[in-house]
């Protein structure tokens, strides 16, 4: 009978079983991994967003700009409120920082007395140039690309701050 058919046949059965299951596991898990890990195909909106008017800005005094932008979130475009800390450096030079601390993403605020940005979570502080002064923050504040159209401030992509 079949089960008396020597070790060779048994060996063949075993390797065939392992091989087929390996192929099927691979054929299922590979697409699954790609599906979960690969970013969506649509490229991100790289347009410039109007954030506000800079004509009232005093030099070297940060101001929080609040504006709306559309964000592609999976299958939805959501319009969300966003902020930026904007500092006027000169007649045509403006810097805009993203509103999150580079440590763990808390919202920081401007400490007028010490002329620095202060994150309430773990007391990271940043200078007006965005550089880390104290605390656990690993890198300087992230900035938006900026562009001026007259007095209008246009914000573009976010650049990571220097470590």
């Amino acid at each position: 009978m079949e089960n008396q058919n020597g070790p060779n046949r048994r060996k063949f059965h075993l390797s065939a079983i392992y091989a087929m299951w390996a192929v099927m596991t691979g054929a299922l898990s590979l697409p699954a991994a790609i599906y979960l890990l690969a970013p969506p195909k649509s490229k991100k909106e790289s347009g410039w967003i109007e954030a506000g008017d800079i004509s009232q800005l005093k030099p070297n005094v940060p101001e929080e700009f609040v504006f709306r932008r559309n964000r592609l979130d999976g299958w939805k475009v959501t319009s969300e409120k966003t902020t930026a800390w904007v500092i006027r450096k000169g007649a045509s030079e403006v810097v805009a920082f993203t509103p999150q601390c580079t440590h763990l993403g808390c919202a920081y605020s401007y400490d007028e007395k010490n002329k620095e940005f202060l994150c309430p979570c773990h007391v990271s502080t940043f200078g007006l140039d965005g550089k880390v002064l104290t605390g656990p923050a690993p890198r300087a504040l992230d900035r938006y690309d900026v562009k001026l159209a007259g007095n209008k401030l246009l914000l573009g992509e976010v650049r990571k701050g220097d470590a």
Binding site: M1, E2, N3, R10, H13, L14, A16, I17, M20, W21, V23, M24, A27, L28, P31, A32, I34, Y35, L36, A38, P40, K41, S42, S46, G47, W48, N70, G74, W75, K76, V77, S79, K147, L148, A149, G150, N151, K152, L154
Partner: protein, 537 residues
């Protein structure tokens, strides 16, 4: 290393010896290739569970969102089409396999004493499998899903006594909407899977308790072991089923039709192929007899299946001697095939619209109506004759963003005031047209200049008509405009060209009670505006 780890595991859990006990089950000498279907069915269930969980990771279970998220899975995610294909075709494969499993058991008479309970658990598993098909059909929320489910819930509603309660339970009172959707989703992912797992556990437990059904003559032969030979057969069978499923998922695209539209009277609903025979049977029972086809006969069929082991209680016979069983199967197969073929032949062929085949929006499709109309004014005024090309007379426009809109408009009106000495002629347009042209110029940058040129002229003219008629006062496109009327994004997936045209001519007729005024466009303008509307992503 491995033996030590196994030893450790054995002492703590006993799993290795349990697995070995499971694999070394004794099976009758006659066991062979005909008994592989149960294993394939189990494998199919696991594939469905796996791909189902993956789909749920990118799925929003409310009507409109469901559609968008399925579209997102199919078009935006790498491998998304594959996973959806596996789940879709996996459902069909599972039905086929489960039915084959049942036919095999039936032909061999494997349900006989003491295996009646195993058979009945199997009948319930078959019903659960159909339950997945029924509830899962609605979840993409396209026209096919919507209309197929309308028919299914109407059938449930016609059931004697239970009808109204079933309708209430399925949330179908007053039509299919969010409640029905939530119920179907909950049944599909929260009720059916645990129920299936419990029943599979019971089913397998009973198979093990009574052993694999022997054939006459087995009692005199020595028993075999399940492992490795029968496991090898099961694996080969599973592998073949998997290759078929995988090929279907890769090669046959699963369409996603237009968004479910309860007002679409032209849509011909049809169920998935495995329910077509029921669908067809309904045509033979009309008027008061309808419940015979929709409820009574299917109910009797299920009841009859349950009773099979109690009707056929004779001693085990070889398959070839079971002529009656063979006859029943042949008759059922013939009936099923006949009904299915008749159903396919009697449904008029309709083109299947697949929105996943449509490509993603081009850059120009993302422009606001104002900006796109600006492209039109730009072309009409032949701006390119000075501002584009090698011998440029005017400055490069794609860097114009440093100007403000107001500056540009002033510049169009009085070029010499804004830039003394310029050769740019003043442009005579209305302020709105100026403003839209300025809006377009501000959007222009070196990266997208080419893409803007790709905007088809008919579409651009449509946008100009849109702008000239102030459609934006009520409608929104790409986030620009008011929201008094519906947003026009995705209107191509909701409406046909004919519908839209009719809607312009006679809004009250197509959507009674609307505040939309009628528009009498020339046929050329009508064509342009429709082309534009249907191009909005």
């Amino acid at each position: 290393m491995i033996p030590r780890a196994l030893n450790w595991l054995e002492e703590r859990t006993g799993f290795p010896s349990a697995a070995s006990h499971f694999l070394n089950e004794e099976i009758p000498a006659s066991a062979g290739w005909h008994q592989v279907f149960g294993s394939i069915a189990l494998f199919c269930f696991l594939v469905q569970a796996f791909t189902g969980v993956l789909l749920a990771m990118n799925y929003a279970a409310t009507p409109g969102e469901a559609y968008n998220s399925v579209k997102y899975i199919a078009t935006e995610l790498t491998g998304g089409r594959m996973i959806r294909g596996l789940h879709h075709w996996g459902a069909s494969t599972m039905i086929v396999v489960v039915v084959f499993h049942m036919i095999q058991t039936f032909l061999w008479g494997a349900y006989k004493k003491p295996r009646e309970a195993t058979w009945i658990a199997g009948v319930f598993l078959l019903l659960l499998t159909f339950g997945y098909g029924l509830t899962g059909y609605l979840l993409p929320w396209d026209n096919r899903a919507y209309w197929g489910t309308v028919v299914a819930t109407q059938i449930a509603a016609s059931a004697p006594f239970a009808g109204p309660y079933l309708t209430q339970l399925l949330g179908g009172e007053g039509g299919i909407g969010v409640v029905t959707f939530a119920r179907f989703y909950a049944i599909h992912v929260l009720i059916l899977p645990p129920a299936t797992m419990l029943l599979i556990a019971l089913h397998v437990f009973l198979v093990r308790r009574h052993g694999v059904s022997p054939a006459p003559g087995d009692e005199t032969k020595p028993k075999k072991k399940f492992y490795p030979q029968q496991v090898f057969r099961d694996t080969v069978a599973i592998f073949i089923a998997f290759v078929i499923l995988f090929t279907l998922a890769v090669a046959v695209r699963v369409p996603l039709e237009r968004l479910a539209d309860p007002t679409d009277t032209s849509y011909i609903p049809r169920p998935d192929w495995y329910f077509l025979f029921l669908f067809q049977m309904l045509k033979f029972f009309q008027g008061p007899l309808e419940i015979v086809g929709s409820v009574v006969l299917p109910g009797l069929a299920v009841f009859g299946l349950m009773l099979v082991p109690f009707i056929d209680r004779g001693a085990m016979k070889r398959v070839r001697q079971r002529t009656l069983a063979l006859g029943v199967v042949a008759l059922a197969a013939l009936g099923w095939t006949g009904l299915t073929v008749a159903a396919i032949r009697s449904t008029p062929p309709t083109p299947i619209i697949d929105v996943t085949e449509m490509t993603g929006p081009e850059s120009w499709q993302m422009l606001s109506p104002d900006e796109l109309a600006g492209v039109g004014h730009y072309r009409k005024e032949a701006c390119a004759s000075c501002h584009v090309g090698d011998k440029k007379l005017g400055p490069e426009l794609s860097t114009v963003q440093k100007r403000s809109k107001e500056w540009l408009i002033e510049h169009f009106k009085n070029p010499n005031v804004m830039r003394p000495g310029t050769i740019m002629p003043p442009i005579h347009l209305t302020t709105a047209q100026m403003s839209s042209r300025a809006a377009f110029l501000l959007k222009l940058n070196p990266d997208n200049a080419k893409a803007m040129e790709a905007a088809p002229q008919a579409t651009v003219e449509g946008a100009m008509i849109y702008q000239a008629n102030n459609c934006g006062v009520c409608h929104q496109v790409n986030g620009v405009g008011m929201k008094t009327g519906p947003s026009l994004n995705g209107v191509a997936q909701r409406r046909t060209r004919e519908w839209l045209e009719e809607h312009f001519v006679n809004p009250q007729k197509v959507s009674p009670g609307t505040t939309m005024p009628a528009y009498k466009f020339s046929s050329r303008d009508m064509d342009r505006i429709l082309t534009y509307l249907l191009s909005i992503p």
